[in-house]
Symmetry: C2
Subunit: 680 residues, 2 copies
């Protein structure tokens, strides 16, 4: 006898019609995928372990809608299962200021991650599965299974075509993430029409090649038993992630089902009416939810979920008694708090300390804090020996079968997969338990991950990029590896720290701010070459984002620099001083935090009356808001020994001093208003 | 009897030692991959159809070193086979200003594309294979096979791990690109050590899933016959691209062979010595090339290649006589010239013409020029109906077996693969024959392709991005789809046009400049929403990148805008005029071309004495070099109806006018120097 009956059919129809009604009411959105995937949503959610009244419960099963345009389906599920989404919210779909925006947004209750940009969600989910494995390996004890949740993903053709999902899926197979279950909506349609026009690869075979379990549901439109059987089987696949290839019809039930026209535009009114009728509903009424559907989900999800949550709370309470140290640590992490005085571990330097590459100083910082903060989980996109991201004694996060580490390990070998690394970090962060992921690559290749970095910033995942080799200082590798536009790009993104520290104290400041950030990601750009420890730097000052490093009375000019150009500017100031020209040197390691300081402070750093020359061996395009004139590199770099390349482009103490002199001459006798002054 | 003998072995040893000597002399570089891949280089090059004295011959076989860090191998091959690379050039490896930079650069003779950023090269090669198929289908005639070249690729683990290669390989399988042959250096090592740490997928199975032929060479270190047999078999695979999985030992012959330490650092002196000895060379001498090796390559490649080139020239000469129209067109394309007066096809508008979305105006422009310019080859990353990139009557570029188009088609269904699209366009452009690729996606998702866009700019491939949905004007799709930082990012990149046209004439200007560009790519950002045809715009003026759209005598302020904010600024100027405030409106659709104008012109647009307010509903971060004050959007957008979202952020005529008034007040009585003025 089937485990599914009339109520399930009714629930599925309710989901379908709610999603269609949302789109119709908004006159905007995507009805096609929700119509096809409603049965899967019903079956998957019906067996998920979640407490809609406590969406943050750490051991909930996660659901990620990687095909985020199908969000009307997600809002329908959240409403029906008792999350804080009312019918009124659904009626406000895609309206300004509503709780139901056009794509899923992380801030919303029950929405695990922001999706829409394709391929991100499934990759986030790999991160969530990693976090779960790590949490379980770190805290579970015999008879105390604090963590055992699954992560479910819905994804479509777009997610599978995007390269990021290939990167993530290959890694997930390697990592044996049996806690990850993906349902692929194989509807054979994308916006350009049939998938035959560009996508006829053998997806199942590809995923088997990645080491995944691949299961099939032939009739995803109706076969609830088939879906349930596949999910049950997937849950038994403990050392392989699972892809369920589920064939559906896009826009199922619509007069235009199976056609790409139902993907991204509301159904016509008569189509909606026949759809309601077809599913046994009143053809004239919208947003109808039979009470028995609410009751069903309450019985299936709400009640058992609340009970499971309560049972978990009790278990955790006992755990804290039995394992006070681990319990306290876990509890602290659930509160999202750092250990008291954690930052006393951060290294402090004086000018007597050796000149070192900031990437090396970053390694020294990580060495100090990695063991203090069990929530840190690091890695590199195959540049460990260059990024210097692996701390002393770190254990690799690896499946135990590999013999290369275990799941309690906190160093991830991401492989040469920057984009996936970015989105996996987002997923680890979104998982909760105060996970703090960092990942290393060359600064130039953070650009490969731009799609994921944007979502870190938009969602407020405080992940950390350890971005080494930050300029032409990479030398011989040449222009393919020398960033020019990279910092300007990320500085233009809202809500992100973009650090370029000048010395050890500034590196410590970058990590301090990054780790204490609740909702802002960080990119820390680090030098390959050695830089001196500066007179005048401190963690406190650098943490403000910008500060006066070295001053004189009544300066003629301000040299405003970052990273390797700060010490260069100090040298230039000496050259100028020898000529009787007085220069203040300002270090501006992080635009974001500097902008957050009050106006009085900022104007004390860059006051009226003194011309400001920015000095950064990267594009000048982002400097207009702080500097009157800019010395930078508005062209691609060159392959050669780093000091020779610097010299070639005029980045010497004399070269900076010469431009400072010209800047002073240019502004002589003119009003000099601080670039910080705003008219509105 | 083997086709290979002592001379081949000697040649391979010569290649290996030359590559090692380059790295040792530079004291920088990557010896590992060249040592492993030298036999493959020898075998592949020995049978390639190329004329080292004429590296631009259109029907040459292409060679792409996708693992670009192995460039010492490439320079060795180019030298040995008679390209314009001397031993002295090899000795200057990685030195500033030399002809042998740290990664392959497109400008160099015999270097087909710039590589180094992993995954790009193999994807470029897919573009080259597409171009070849199209060229053959367009111009070949019975007995006149003008085009039949192969594209060979060397690639390593990194290229296969990067998502971009997954995207490209899936598409290449779909497109049945039998002219593409990739040799995978399966050396089981990446920088982080064994590939077991992150990459144990079944690569062969994955490529079979993409529809590729997969062949094996078990001993790539020595088995020349095996490599040759695989290449021969690959050439017979006419409807499938081929991946040859060739097992090698990284750093073969070194004392540290098989270890990741030989990947990216010079071998130690004693190691080099034993290596020379092992290969039968004098252990003390560097850069040794036995004359018989030069002779061998001359006989194998130089002489037959020159003859083949000459034969082709004769064939083409006959072709031009027999098929004067096609012949003249092909010849024109080989000269890199556009048809005379091609631009007369560009649409011109007056203010009486309808308001239209610039994406629609883009479509109308493409409709006019697509058939005029057979070198244009367009496409979209699955957003054809949104990007409006498919012209009337266009034929899809598809394998004939698909029944969906043929290889003479010039519209590529890229699938949801933006990064691959970008790099494929680079490859199509690099192929020659004046191919002009364009590709559509949403502006926000050009960021997914940042790695490829950077290489377009660095290499100077004049590809065109049709980047629609350029702002919060996308409305309901919300912040995941609303660009904020995107234009600032690409404006910060050297050598790229970043257009944001305000109306039809500006759209025509963007295409005119983009198509006439020899070595600068273009991104054309286009609106989803309708915009009016402006009084004062023209193709000629817009082509300058920036111009005075509407003026008044003695303006109090300059409103400096792009795209949809130009007409908004015109409205704001009216609001201001009603209050007696005089505003000049400047449109700045392309920073790049504006910066190229002479100073007198630029200062005539943005003169001293008048405050400039930039108005663009995107980040303000890039506006400092043109504007005193900026009105923009330094936060993420919001989901809602587009007009409501614009209003919410103050982007109304009144909102702009209010900020203009404040700007005027702020500068009252102060020196106002044009932001264009530079101190140096
Ligand atoms: Ca689909
Ligand atoms: Ca390798």
């Amino acid at each position: 006898m089937s485990q599914f009956g009339a109520i399930d059919k009714l629930a599925v129809s309710t989901i379908r019609l709610l999603a269609v009604d949302e789109v119709s009411k908004a006159n905007s959105g995507h009805p096609g995928a929700p119509l096809g995937m409603a049965p899967a949503a019903h079956v998957v959610w019906s067996q998920m372990n979640m407490n809609p009244k406590n969406p943050d419960w750490i051991n909930r099963d996660r659901f990620v809608l990687s095909n985020g345009h199908a969000v009307a389906l997600l809002y329908a599920m959240l409403h029906l299962t008792g999350y804080d989404f009312s019918i009124e919210d659904l009626k406000q779909f895609r309206q300004l200021g509503s709780k139901t925006p056009g794509h899923p947004e992380f801030e919303l209750p029950g929405v695990e991650v922001t999706t829409g940009p394709l391929g991100q969600g499934v990759t986030n989910a790999v991160g969530m599965a990693i976090a779960q494995k790590n949490l379980a390996a770190t805290y579970n004890k015999p008879n105390f299974t604090l963590s055992d949740n699954f992560t479910y993903v819905f994804l479509g053709d777009g997610c599978l075509q995007e390269g990021i999902s290939s990167e993530a899926s290959s890694l997930a197979g390697h990592l044996e993430l049996g806690n990850l279950i993906c349902v692929y909506d194989d509807n054979k349609i994308t916006i350009d029409g049939s998938t035959e026009v560009s996508f006829d690869e053998d997806v199942a075979k590809r995923y088997e090649a990645y080491g995944w379990e691949v299961l099939y549901v032939e009739n995803g439109n109706e076969d609830l038993e088939g879906i349930a059987a596949a999910i049950a089987k997937a849950k038994l696949s403990t050392t392989k992630p699972t892809l369920i290839k589920m064939t559906t019809t896009i826009g199922y039930g619509s007069l235009h089902q199976g056609n790409h026209s139902v993907h991204g535009a509301p159904l016509k009114a008569d189509d909606v009416k026949q759809l309601r009728k077809k599913f046994g509903f009143d053809s004239e009424k919208s947003f109808v939810v039979p009470q028995e559907v609410y009751d069903f989900y309450q019985a299936k999800i709400g009640t058992p979920g609340a009970a499971a949550n309560k049972k978990w709370d009790q278990l955790f309470s006992q755990y804290q008694q039995k394992f006070p140290q681990e319990g306290a640590e876990f509890a602290r992490r659930l509160r999202g708090e750092l250990p008291a005085n954690w930052d006393s571990a951060l290294p402090v330097y004086t000018p007597k300390d050796s000149a070192l590459a900031t990437r090396k100083l970053s390694e020294m910082t990580l060495d100090k804090i990695f063991n203090e903060l069990p929530e840190i989980i690091g890695g590199s996109a195959d540049l460990t020996p260059s990024n210097l991201t692996r701390t002393q004694g770190a254990v690799d996060f690896q499946p135990p079968s590999s013999g290369l580490g275990d799941y309690s390990g906190r160093y991830i070998r991401y492989g040469i997969r920057e984009h996936a690394m970015g989105a996996i970090m987002n997923g680890i962060s979104a998982y909760g338990a105060h996970y703090l992921p960092y990942g290393g690559t060359f600064l130039n290749f953070v650009s490969y991950a731009a799609g994921a970095v944007r979502l870190s910033a938009l969602s407020g995942h405080p992940v950390i990029w350890v971005a080494t080799h930050d300029s032409i200082g990479v030398g011989e590798d040449g222009p393919t590896h020398q960033p020019i536009e990279t910092l300007a790009h990320f500085r233009a993104l809202p809500n992100i720290h973009v650090w370029r520290p000048a010395d050890g104290n500034e590196v410590s400041a970058a990590y301090k701010v990054a780790i204490e950030s609740k909702s802002t990601p960080s990119i820390i750009a680090l030098s390959r070459q050695n830089l001196p420890q500066l007179e005048g730097s401190s963690i406190e000052k650098a943490a403000k984002g910008g500060y006066v490093l070295q001053d004189v009375a009544n300066p003629d000019i301000i040299l405003l620099a970052t990273g390797s150009e700060v010490s260069l500017s100090v040298e230039a100031a000496k050259v100028l001083a020898a000529k009787g020209i007085k220069a203040r040197v300002v270090s501006l390691p992080d635009f974001y935090n500097f902008d957050k300081q009050d106006e009085a402070y900022r104007l004390s750093v860059l006051p009226d009356g003194i011309p400001v020359l920015s000095v950064e061996v990267l594009t000048t395009s982002c400097w207009g808001k702080y500097a009157h004139q800019s010395f930078g590199l508005d062209r691609f770099g060159a392959s050669g020994k780093a000091p020779e390349v610097f010299k070639f482009f005029g980045f010497t103490a004399e070269g900076v001093a010469e431009r400072a002199t010209k800047t002073i001459a240019f502004y002589k006798g003119k009003d000099v208003i601080s670039p910080l002054r705003r008219a509105f």
